[in-house]
Symmetry: C2
Subunit: 107 residues, 2 copies
């Protein structure tokens, strides 16, 4: 999640929920997905400082072969239309995601 857009906690929550739903609807639905559901669909919400760091993160995740969904806000409230606010990485195994995200801090 970008922290430079001045979004309130409700707006942030909605963006993260968009990302999670997109990850579930558009990501792979094999054994990794089923294992993630069985584990209680764990999510870790991390922060990036801005658009450049978000883009860099997405690039690393794609290069690692991970499912990535970038969320662009419709712009009805708080941020300009089309702004990339956050991304979802996964569903995937922690051992595959952690090398990409370990540098980031919890939101």
């Amino acid at each position: 999640m970008r922290t430079d857009l001045g979004m309130g906690r409700g707006k942030i929550a909605a963006q993260v929920a968009h990302a999670a739903v997109s990850a579930v609807l558009q990501g792979p639905h094999g054994a990794v997905f089923e294992a993630w559901l069985q584990a209680g669909q764990p999510k870790v919400v991390l922060k990036v400082a801005g658009a450049a760091e978000l883009a860099e993160l997405c690039g690393h995740a794609v290069a690692a072969g991970l499912p990535v969904q970038v969320i662009h806000d419709a712009g009805r409230t708080q941020v300009a239309a089309g702004t990339a606010t956050c991304c979802a990485i996964g569903p995937a195994l922690p051992a595959d995601v952690d090398p990409v995200t370990a540098v980031l801090s919890l939101l």
Copy 2:
């Protein structure tokens, strides 16, 4: 979303995402669901003061025939295991949800 549990914005975002994913996976998948997806899967994040108000809200939503998913936290961080933190109402038509939620404020 309950506001009485002292959860940070990242924790809140994860709970809302749990609720949204549960609503998508467990809710009805008919024309209303497809229309919601086509509209950009809109979400409105609202607040309740505590467990009693959350339970009352869920009761009203169930009585109105709406899909309701209550999220109970696994309790690994910040709140006690099994705590009901929030619920998802829908996917449903705004005309059906709004009478149940209109009394609540944005988070």
